[in-house]
Symmetry: D2
Subunit: 278 residues, 4 copies
């Protein structure tokens, strides 16, 4: 039997759950888990249902559309691994962790390719028989560089782009193409230390806890919807370099956690926030 | 408008959510939040719904009963503060924290009385104009002592008993009278260090993290359903006394957290486990 | 036998520990614990030694001065409770927690008085037989208000001022008078959400973890040296109000932790950072 | 210039730090960091000093021996990477994480070989050009199996054995040969759930936090000195399988943390506890 995830978002009103579950009941589907949330501020209703059964997708969607507000967001997703492209620069810890999870099949994703502006992570990537594309940013404009990256991305038609310490800013064009489908790991506890060199700034500020933040990428650097965050304690004895070293474990763990949530279709984006059914 | 919590537990089968929410819809009730869980192991369905509206309680319950399995557990609770009795021995940190929360009304509970086998916490308790009952355990049998305690408890008819570092074992009689309504805080990360002197034993074992566990009390010491747990790191430089000191903050925080969950009717007991909708 | 803490800070050079411990050895003192740290960036040496014995303070200090760089910071402190004044506005959780710890003697501090710009916390404070001074800020200039506060503070000559959710900004005069002796609790994970309404802004940003920061107060709002920080996870289901409620436990715990470190003379300030021997 | 770590453990008495640092001063060594601890219970003194300089090892050790109690433990270690052998069974997450850290040189260890009682992790190991030895336990006695393992271990003469989810019990012989040099990761928060199937038991007990423990191996299963522990929250919605899955990240992080501490010579064993200078 196939497993599906049904995602619904619409203006809240009475009776939504009753109507939606009624249609699932009529189709004789077996609900595995169910979550709802009403965001008061926007009067929005969110629902995620995981169920198994045999369905004709369009028929189910049509039935749902008939009982939901006209502008409702309805998505019915057959559960299978998501295709991702990982983008990285020079650091190996996040990429390496994702490759390991890809290898051990502990995340519902398949890494189709790695793209980097350096050639440094090729050996590591190819150990796992994953395509590696080295697209240097040197000697070309930002626009040219991204055009080349984009061409490679398009070839794979991935579900998500995962920026695993990719130290370049993406253009609005690519961001729009992959709206809410680009996941970045930022090495600070956002919104603290937005931008460059967060560990140096954390050290300079004398903080006692550092962190990492996985978020969707939008047009404003490090300001997209946050998916997951993690922290670890530090002390005066940590140099900026020690913090960066210690932070690596949080970065990779938080990125993997966020990717799992996204790949399992547990994350809605509402404005600049995420609603997460975990 | 009044707020209610509806708790339902029954054998799982298709269509339950649809039917239950249908009845709430028919009664024109406004669902504030909703949670469901199916425990696969026991094929049990659990649902907690918070809603507001004007209802006739018995009519709603009857309607629900008509669509649910015969043996379904159905509880409809008008949301208001719960009456509790706090039992303590000599340590003031948990009791003091609860008295402060009672005073600032930050928990949905009213402390009706404190019962202790010492007179030591009287001054603290009476600062907050809460009745204090000193029932010494000296010169009387365990049975006699508990009979006296029980008589006082009965006078207040509390919703819950909260053992805030009460260092005596309750009899099966009292435990049965308050089934799943006695909350204890144990000063270890259960099931590690069940029983007496957990900090001494944590020290002797050389653990690097210590914790506290809030649980319902049943006939087996420290083995009732766990509601909440918390931890803090320690090191070789902590003596057993340092651990006990450091542990106090976790104990009081975990106890307050558990009490909040229980008093907001968010906790189901299923066998020896809790299902918590938070 | 008396217990002392010796604090030394000076430019680093070889042989410092040897010379310092030599003098302690000559005076036949019993070292209880010892910590050193060299801050590479500034080439500064920091040492905290806790010892017991009978000494003539000035003689020991003179001996130390003879072997240390001329500009060395040397402080020899007989261990006893520190006098503090707590300043608060309307919220009771931090003040209440400090009063409880004062009552149970679980922190090495004595609360000599509470000063507030509202009369609201009087009843709570006076339960614990602590002086309460209500100094309204209404109908008087900022300068006048602080002059009145200052006059009261001076009367008690406290070791430290503790701002337990005191919602007013202190003047540079008072800050200079109590340099590195004013401890504030800020209800965010600094440097995120400096300034007003951090929970509202945390909610608006959609963060998944919130925190609290205890720091020394200097002339720049929320930018003084950080002493301690703590965090708790939140989710999309937390409103700003829920975050504020959940944050209270972190605020009070972090403030108490910072106060303990400071009152036990474990904290050095170096530039805008703290060096902590715990 | 070479970096050394000096480890000293002996009965405590006055003047030890003075004398030890005096000898380092006489040899004109540059102390990088320094830590001392006195275990009251056993009246034992522990000191770890990291310094750089040019020394003749035996001369320095002799000088130290002259001022220390006769039975003092003195170890002077030139800082370089430690050779380790990783032993594993079928799970790849801990081994994979160690291989990644070996590859990125983020831990001061070199994995000389992997030994497993299955052939399953060969492909992964050999990606990293690390020797893989498959020693099946089938068709041979426990004694024979370990003899074969032991022969391979001896060939590499490693500094440490790391049990990365090695699901077999070692014999006292091997344990004695590598006293306090075998590091195991146990998938529970010890001493909770000693022995087999900790996640199943954690699930059955309904705990709200699970953990992992890295410890030295001694003759009693899961009872050796604890080096590091870590935890993550779980809820009723985690099956035993979900717990095992979620626990993997803690297991690998805690194991890597413990290995780092050990490989940097930061860990003393005192009785059944560790004293850690981090």
């Amino acid at each position: 039997m196939t497993t599906y995830v049904l995602l619904i978002a619409c203006a809240d009103r009475k009776g939504l759950i009753h109507k939606i579950t009624g249609i699932l009941y009529d189709h004789d589907l077996n609900i595995i888990s169910n979550g709802e949330f009403v965001e008061k501020e926007t009067n929005s209703f969110f629902m995620r249902t995981e169920f198994s059964g045999e369905i004709e997708t369009s028929s189910l969607t049509d039935s749902l559309r008939a009982v939901l507000p006209e502008t409702a967001y309805i998505r019915l997703i057959e559960q299978k691994k998501k295709d991702i492209i990982v983008m990285a620069t020079r650091e190996s810890h996040c990429l390496g962790d994702l490759l390991m999870r890809h290898y051990s099949q502990s995340l519902p994703v398949v890494i189709r390719a790695v793209i980097s502006n350096y050639d440094r992570l090729r050996e590591l990537t190819e150990k796992f028989h994953v395509d590696y594309h080295y697209v240097s940013h040197e000697g070309c404009s930002r626009q040219e560089h991204e055009a080349r990256v984009s061409a490679i991305v398009d070839r794979y038609a991935p579900d998500y782009l995962v920026l695993a310490k990719y130290m370049r800013i993406l253009s609005p064009v690519l961001i729009r193409q992959f709206e809410n489908r680009i996941i970045n790991i930022h090495h600070s506890f956002l919104p603290a230390f937005i931008g460059a060199k967060p560990y140096e700034r954390a050290y300079a500020r004398g903080v006692k806890i550092i962190g990492a933040t996985a978020h969707f990428v939008n047009d404003n650097l490090d300001e997209g919807p946050i998916i997951a965050q993690g922290v670890i304690p530090v002390s005066h004895s940590h140099s900026a370099r020690d913090m960066a070293q210690a932070g690596k474990d949080v970065e990779k763990t938080v990125l993997a956690k966020a990717l799992k949530l996204v790949a399992e279709d547990r994350v809605f984006v509402s404005g600049n926030k995420t609603i997460i059914f975990d």
